[in-house]
Structure formats: C-alpha cells, structure tokens
C-alpha cells in the first residue's frame, strides 16, 4: 500500500518547482501524468546531458508518464480538459491568469470536477503589484532578502548554490496539496491553492523578520547582515574548514593551548586577548572572522583531515566544506538510501536522489524512470477514451507528435 494509491495528478508545469512536487507525489504513490508542449519541458533543454538527456530533467521527473501535445490547438486543449475531468490534483505554473485564458483555470475545471485540488505555482502569487513580473530562482532569493546573509559587504552578491526557492516551493506545494486532499476526504470538495516562490521563501526567513523588529540588544550574533564577512571558513591545503574547542568548563583552555601548539600558533598564546577570545570561537561569527587573518595562514600548512584529527582528539568539533564527491564517498549516504539507480531507455543507468521520508508501514517508492517526451501519449489518450482513428488524426494535424519507435 502506498499512501497516494489511486490519486491521479495532472502536471502542467515545467522547470523545477512544479516537477519536483509532481515527482514527490509520484514517490508517494500517485499516478502523475506530465502534460508537455511538443517541444518538451524547458528543463529537457537545459544544462549537462547524459546521452542527450538533460540531467536536470532526469532529476525532477522520475515515475511520471508523459503526454506531449500542442495547447495552441483547440484539439490539444480538449485533451487537457478531458484529462482534467477525473484528476484529483492539477498542478500548473503557467503564470497568474494564463490557465484561465487557455480554458483550464480552476473555475473551468471545478465546474465538472468539484473534487479537484488545483495548485497554481507562480513567482509572486496572484495578488499584488508584482503579480505579473517574471522571475527565476535568482530574483526570488534576492527579493526575499537571502543575499543579505551571503557574500562580503561591497562585493558582488552571492546566491545560494542549490535551487532553494524552486525545490522548496515544490515541497510547499506538496504540503498544500496533501492538506487539501485530507480536507477533501471530509468535505468531498477540492479547492484551489496558490503557491508562490516569493511568499514561500519569505515564510522561511520568519526568524529574521522577527529578530530585527524589536530586539533587546543590537548584538546577539544574528543581528547582522551586510556588515558581516562571508562565512568561508579557514582554508587548508585541500578544503575550507571550521572548528571550535569543547565548550565545557575546564576543558576549553587546555584544549586551545594544545591546539595552538600542535598547529604552529604557540606564540599567539602569549597574547591574552587572542588567548581568551580565541578559545571561545565557534568557527563562525564575528570572533572567528576577526581571527581569520591570524589563523588561516597556519591552517594552510595542513590538510583538513590533519586538523580534524587534532581538533577531535581534543574533544572539539570540526566540519569541512564538503564537495559532492566528499559527500557521496560517505558510507552514510548508502546507509540512509539516498542514492537510487534507475534504468532509463536512453540515458541508461542513472543515479537519482532517494526519498527523504521513510514511512515504515506504507513506504514511498520510486515508480520508474523519467519519461521520454510524449512516451505515453497514445497510452494515455486511449485510457481517456480516444479511438485509434482519433489518435491518428491528432498526429496528422500535429496536435501530438509522431509515434516514438
């Protein structure tokens, strides 16, 4: 038994947020039909490829079926409407108002399918002055204030490397859809959910919004922002690291003394200011920054692993800025089943991320590989009642693509 057995999802979404949500619904057991334009989801054409297949697309679309059609044609729109008739969930990111123009906005669908849970993903939501502005991950991170906490004052802005706004908007949308499905179990009716990248990212910095409103003191190491330096750790021979001494009364000072002697910073113990402040550093924050010019040159004589052994030997803590290669060499990744291998007809054996939640009685499962463009077009059309002749006619009038061999 999978939690979302018999839930039918129509994914009218491209790029990251919508597909991530659809993929997680598929992992949860839903039947996810991905409706693509004849040219395919945008992400099929972006970034590095594996045998011609986009790695980005492969990472976001496993376990779905793909139908490719032209929504510019009335015939194509009619297919979408027929698919929507018995859909439990519709997920779209066409932009505010656009789905309504095409004739499959929430109010159109709900007339014949009042049980539908309809989730619209957009950059800024459907109300307010930014409603119609286009934006990507980068714009949303900046406008939600995230760059305030990255980079150096006066230097060019730094973005978060991971696609946080995109992926987490997928997660938020999943939460909204699940809440609405649970609600539907009681009420019998569905509803519309608006999920906007901007609002979602803003909700995730609630702590910053609160902390800066009416604080007791200017400090508290969180009350900072653009005046800070980038937290890049200390460079070693190989990786950047951070570390701290054990913050246990009686242990901190001897540990710090021993550390300084072992790494070649002994002469700095002569300076009471350095000694007192240095031993209490936690690897990040103003103190760590202040001492960076002193500590970093010494660290550059060592490898990160040598420093790790010294610090851990003293009961302190240590962390290094890992690369993905470092991360995926950790046996722990296999232990928690976070790498899965799937066979894909073109890309062959591919690796994808596992499922983060392990439900012991009703486990989520990867259903299958990401689909080729339009791989299931004919199968899906037959399921919703189109005849062989009608399907051939759709091909002739270029509403759907030629059959894949």
């Amino acid at each position: 038994m999978v939690p979302l057995k018999d839930i039918k999802v129509l994914e009218l979404a491209d790029e990251i947020a919508g597909p991530h949500c659809g993929m997680q619904l598929s992992d949860g057991g839903a039947d996810v039909i991905k409706v693509e334009p004849l040219t395919g989801d945008l992400s099929r054409h972006r970034g590095v490829k594996i045998n011609g297949e986009s790695a980005l697309f492969l990472s976001l679309n496993r376990g779905k079926r793909s139908i490719a059609l032209s929504q510019a044609e009335p015939g194509g729109r009619e297919i979408v409407l027929r698919l929507a008739k018995d859909a439990d969930v519709i997920l779209e990111n066409y932009g505010p108002g656009r789905a309504d123009e095409l004739g499959f906005g929430y109010s159109d669908i709900a007339k014949s399918n009042p049980r539908v849970v309809y989730c619209s993903i957009s950059p800024f939501g459907e109300k307010g002055p930014y409603r119609d502005y286009p934006a990507s991950e980068l714009e949303i991170q900046g406008m939600a204030g995230y760059q305030w906490f990255l980079g150096e004052a006066g230097e060019p802005p730094v973005r978060l490397g991971p696609d946080l706004a995109g992926v987490d908007t997928g997660i938020w949308s999943f939460i909204g859809i699940m809440a609405a499905l649970l609600s539907r179990n009681k009420s019998g009716v569905g509803q519309k959910i608006e999920s906007s990248m901007f609002m979602n990212m803003l909700a995730m910095i609630v702590y910053i919004i609160t902390a800066h409103y009416n604080p007791d003191q200017p400090g508290g190491f969180h009350f900072t922002g653009p005046f800070d330096h980038a937290e890049t750790g200390y460079r070693t021979k190989d990786r950047a690291i951070l570390f701290g001494m054990p913050l246990v009364p009686g242990k901190t000072e001897p540990a710090w003394e021993s550390f300084c002697k072992q790494v070649g910073l002994a002469e700095l113990l002569e300076d009471p200011y350095f000694k007192e402040k240095g031993m209490r550093m936690v690897g990040i924050g103003r103190d760590a920054q202040e001492f960076k010019p002193v500590i970093e040159p010494a660290m550059e004589n060592w490898t990160s692993d040598e420093i790790r052994k010294i610090v851990e030997g003293l009961g302190g803590y240590f962390a290094m800025f890992k690369t993905y290669q470092d991360v995926f060499n950790e046996p722990q990744v296999k232990e928690v089943r976070m790498i899965e291998e799937i066979d894909h007809p073109v890309a062959k054996k591919i690796k994808v991320m596992g499922i983060p939640w392990k439900l012991k009685a009703t486990p989520a499962q990867i259903k299958g590989p990401p689909p080729l463009l339009g791989q299931h077009t004919a199968e899906i059309l037959r399921e919703i009642g189109y005849s062989r002749e009608e399907i051939t006619a759709f091909r002739k009038s270029k509403i759907i693509n030629e059959e894949i061999d």
């Binding site: 990472s59 699940m178 499905l181 910053i208 890992k322 690796k351 012991k360």
Partner: protein, 387 residues
C-alpha cells in the same frame, strides 16, 4: 484542513517544532511538551523581552505544557496525553527517545494508531548516526555550502537563516501528511524515520544531478548559474546590484530590445541559452558594461515594463516596506507575552479552508497546563484511525 488532528511536539530547537507550528497553521491542535528549563531556542540569538526570537518563531500556533520526560510521573502524564494524540514529532539525536522511554514502541502501546515521526541528524544507523547535526554543520556536511560562494572560493555558509533546518521541517510535514493519508486508508498509524541529512540531500537534487552526470563537483559561481546565461547580478551606475535572468528563451529578445542592443539578438553566438552558456565570457562583459551605464532604479523600471525577469537585493527594511508583501499582508504583527512582534503569515493561499489559516502568537511555557490536564481527564477519548 488538519482540524481535529492532535500533534505532540516533543522536539527541540528548530526542526521538529517548526514542523509542528506549520501543521498548527493548517488547523492541527499542537501541544508542545516544554522541558522544565525551556528549550535551547529560548536562550540563543537575538532576544526580545528576554526570550529568544527564534523561540517566538519556532513555537507559534502551539499550546504549551512543561513536561520533564526524565521524571517518571511526567513521562506517565506525557503518555496519557499521547493516548489522545494522532501524531508525535521528535527530532532528538538517534536513541534519545528510547532512553527517555517516549519512543515509538512505548507510545504505540498506549496508542496503537499513533503516527510517530522521528527526525534525526543522519539516520539511526551507520557510521555518522551519532554525529552532531545543526543547520551550519549540515550545510557543510551535505555539500550545500560547497556549491555556494564567490567564484574561486571553497564554499560559503548561509548565515543566520537556517534554511536547511526549515527545509527539514517541511520534509517532516510532508511525511506526516502522507502518513495521515495512509491512516485514513488503512486505519493504521506508523513510524516515520527521516533525517536532516536526507532532507538536505533531497533538496539539492538539481545540483547533485550535475555531479552524477559529469563526475565533477559544481563549484561556487558567485551569483551566476552554470546552465542559464544570463542569470546573475550586475552592478549599476549608482554602485548597486540588480539581477537579471533569461531562463526562458522569450526573455532574450525582450532583454536585447530593452537595453537597445538589437545586434545581440541577431548574434548567432547568443541565439539560444545553450549558445549563451557556451559564449558566456563574450556576452557577460557586454551586458556588464551596458548595465553599468544607468542606475538600478531605471533598469528595474525598464525591465519590468519589458517583461524581463529582474530583481533587487532587498534588506529586511526593504521587506518590511515592500508593496507586494503589504498588499498580501504577508507580515503580521501579533501580541505575544513578550510584547508585539512580527511573524510571516502562512505562505500558501487556500480558496476554501474550513477555518481561516492563521498564525497565533507564541505563548509562555506551561501556559496551557490546566486546560490540557482537564481535557485528558475527560472520560470520552477521541476515536482513532478509521471509523
């Protein structure tokens, strides 16, 4: 939405409690088991009225009762409350709940239909099962920080915001909602195991895909994007930064027209995104020079008028005053026992919530003891599971 669902927050710091707050927004009745000396969040970071503001944002939409699970009488009381609950959420280090005697097996004995979500740092088995875990450490340990930073850096940590913690909280909510759905179908509760490590890796799937495909580590690129060009920050005439992204092909001609450089649009080196990625080094200096010629405000006006994705780099003050945030009432001012403060509202908008989705302010520890005790001493118990 989650009306009638009772959730026990027996977690600590941010991860478990924030997940419970969010389910509280969705209508669940969240009861927080506060340790007698209060949670760590109460004391760290920026304070307001003597309480950590992180505590304010980690414990809204909850009722609060002090329970010391280390004491047997309190533990018995906790189990009594658990009899009436649907969900337990905890995020303590692996093995901690077993030691306290409030683990899944124990709670299941008094409430066979319980959904019990245990979120650890790195999972409960394996060489890292007992490694310390928090937001900054996990940023480093998961590669999150290694893909972030100025060009040429070895990585950079995202300061203060705890996005990795929050993402783990969102994963907890996902898992609990799935288990609630499963319970409606099977009548059975279950245990959920997850971890901050798994949630943080899962969240990076789009970047990890590049590594799996090429075997090469994605490196920090400042504000730029490895597979979209342009998508980065540009310095303006008034020494500010704005960002511009052409993540769909239709934005490219719009950008070229807006900056009055039609020749770029017709240049085969820049015809498609793939071409622009290949010829990034030729294109970016041209755009940099152009955008440096006028102030930020002008470009934002012009690009928005032209339908080109662009944005400003906002501070907290900018956010407080942002007209779009105001129009959506996304920041709400609420009175807490520690004085008025600001919260962000629940970001998803539902057309038909059975009760309004709302944020209710954090209460003082133990505030709801009397009413909770009165509720559980009533003879009739809530029906669990199906039927």
């Amino acid at each position: 939405m989650l009306n009638g669902i009772r959730i026990l927050d027996v977690g600590g710091w941010g991860v478990g409690p924030v997940a419970c707050c969010l389910m509280g927004c969705l209508g669940a009745d969240v009861i927080r088991f506060e340790p007698p000396k209060f949670d760590g969040l109460y004391y760290v970071g920026t304070q307001q009225g003597g309480v950590g503001t992180a505590y304010l944002t980690g414990h809204f939409n909850e009722r609060n009762i002090i329970i010391d699970l280390k004491k047997d009488e309190d533990r018995q009381l906790g189990l009594k409350i658990a009899e009436t609950a649907d969900v337990v959420v905890e995020n303590h280090p692996a093995g901690a709940m077993e030691k306290l005697g409030f683990d899944y097996e124990t709670v299941k004995k008094v409430n066979p239909h319980i959904i019990y979500c245990a979120s650890s740092g790195y999972g409960t088995t394996g060489p890292m099962a007992h490694s310390p875990s928090n937001d900054p450490l996990m940023q480093l340990a998961s590669g999150f920080a290694g893909t972030t930073g100025a060009s040429g850096s070895m990585g950079e940590m995202f300061r203060f915001v705890a996005a990795v913690d929050y993402t783990t909280s969102l994963n907890i909510v996902q898992a609990v909602l799935l288990a609630l759905m499963a319970r409606e179908r099977t009548g059975e509760g279950q245990k959920i195991e997850m971890s901050q490590f798994e949630a943080t890796l899962s969240m990076q799937s789009t970047r990890i895909a590049e590594y799996f495909a090429t075997g090469k580590n994605p490196v920090p690129m400042g504000s730029a994007n490895p597979s979209i060009v342009p998508s980065q920050a540009f310095k303006t005439y008034d020494n500010k930064y704005i960002n511009v992204s052409v993540h769909r092909e239709e934005y490219w001609p719009r950008l070229c027209k807006a900056i009055n450089m039609a020749e770029l649009e017709n240049d085969p080196r820049f015809a498609t995104n793939a071409d622009r990625v290949t010829n990034r080094d030729a294109l970016i200096p041209i755009l940099e020079e152009k955008i440096a010629s006028e102030p930020a405000r002008w470009w934002i006006i012009l690009f928005r008028r032209s339908g080109v994705p662009c944005g400003t780099y906002n501070t907290v003050d900018d956010i407080y005053n942002d007209p779009h945030i105001r129009a959506n009432k996304m920041i709400v001012k609420l009175n807490t026992a520690w004085g008025p403060t600001l919260y962000t509202d629940f970001p998803l908008k539902f057309s038909n919530p059975p009760v309004p989705i709302k944020v209710t302010p954090t209460v003082k520890p133990d505030k709801n003891r009397r009413e909770i005790l009165a509720e559980i001493s009533k003879p009739e118990k809530k029906a669990k599971g199906k039927g």
